[in-house]
Amino acid sequence: MAERPIRVLVAKPGLDGHDRGAKVVARALRDAGMEVIYTGIRQTPEMIAEAALQEDVDVIGLSILSGAHRELFPRIVEQLKQRQLDDVVLVCGGIIPDDDIPLIKQMGFAGVFGPGTSTQEIAAFIRDQVAKKRGARAS
């Protein structure tokens, strides 16, 4: 089976409208050779899961600055489960207190990237995670 470019959905759940960070990351992942599906702000958990399903993505990257991650992230994970998208790599960034990181990882997020993370670091992390998933599926 030929390798395909890594497909990433970049979305902002919830109601905060600051999408500069998400756009910077989307652009950086594009430059890292990935196909980025950018859906922008005010996404509901259902919209995110549905887009991930139709676009058959390897990765979902969520940007959130509003502080609603504790409420929204579990609902997104639940919507993904309902659609049997358990093997999609989940990463997030934005304003997330350090204390919440263990909780978010417990929900199934592979990576949490706070302010100051370099975009190369995010791209490298994603590449590594997807390689592991694809390797596991092939064997």
């Binding site: 089976m1 030929a2 395909r4 470019p5 989307a26 652009r27 992942l29 594009r30 430059d31 890292a32 050779g33 990935m34 196909e35 980025v36 599906i37 950018y38 859906t39 922008g40 509901t44 259902e46 919209m47 549905e50 887009a51 399903l53 139709q54 676009e55 058959d56 659609r83 049997q84």
Partner: protein, 313 residues
Amino acid sequence: MNADWVEQVRAGNPRAVARAISAIERGGEEARRVIIALFRFTGGAHIIGVTGAPGTGKSTLVNEIAKQYRRRGQRVGIVAVDPTSPFSGGALLGDRLRMQDLSGDAGVFIRSMATRGSLGGLAAATADAVKVLDAAGFEIVLVETVGAGQNEVDIARNAHTTLVVEAPGMGDDIQAIKAGIMEIADVLIVNKADHDEVSATVAALEMNLNLKPKTENEWRPPVLKTIATTGEGVAQVVEWIGKHRAYMEAHHLLHARERARARAELEKVVQNELMARLLRGVNGTKFDTLVEQIVAREMNVYAAAAMLLEEGR
């Protein structure tokens, strides 16, 4: 893919449809299997191409057109193509951003596609992705091309009805009479009709259409004004798509288009197969060696091709 994936695709199961399209994008043997299994279930969809320059409002218009068809109870599949970076191989697929109204509607399936190096306004896999949606029972399949320049006209071969979207202030009457994209329109749309200069744009397009010598029973594309952000004029677009479809059927042109498309597709597959077969028969480094010789002006491209063809026999 699961054993019963064909049934699942035909039932419109979104996961099965999504995976089948991914298989097609990956290409090779798997892609071939998908089309071989699904091909006999295709032919039911009305394929509508939407093309035009970047920023004319194609995605927003597709969103509104899809809503119109949904109101009429028809299921809508959408393939939206954006360019792949020639430098990184990555892509930013942003068409979905304009189609949020359609989210949550099980009668709509949207797939974003990167061109992955293919020219002409579509991805190499677009035509086959459309077949998957066709087999999945979507009565309407909308194909949005990359922001097209003057020569990205592949969509005309792949669609039953082609919409060319313009916006006011994009060029004068000379632009309107140039060959290429303007010629493939079955329906011409001047979007952003709330902007200035809209009447000048409409006039330029109408003039161009009027310059064409009339032949009997020929389809004359209408020039329609829309404001996609509010949905104004879009009902009329859908009406004209229906008229075009009826016209094609009445004049047996649908069959002619299908024939032209089948011919082009067959040619392309044979070309690719021959190329693959040839390269299999040729020593692996031979191709690269010849390329180097051409660059060094030691060999011309025709002589190199002749050598390859001889060796690959």
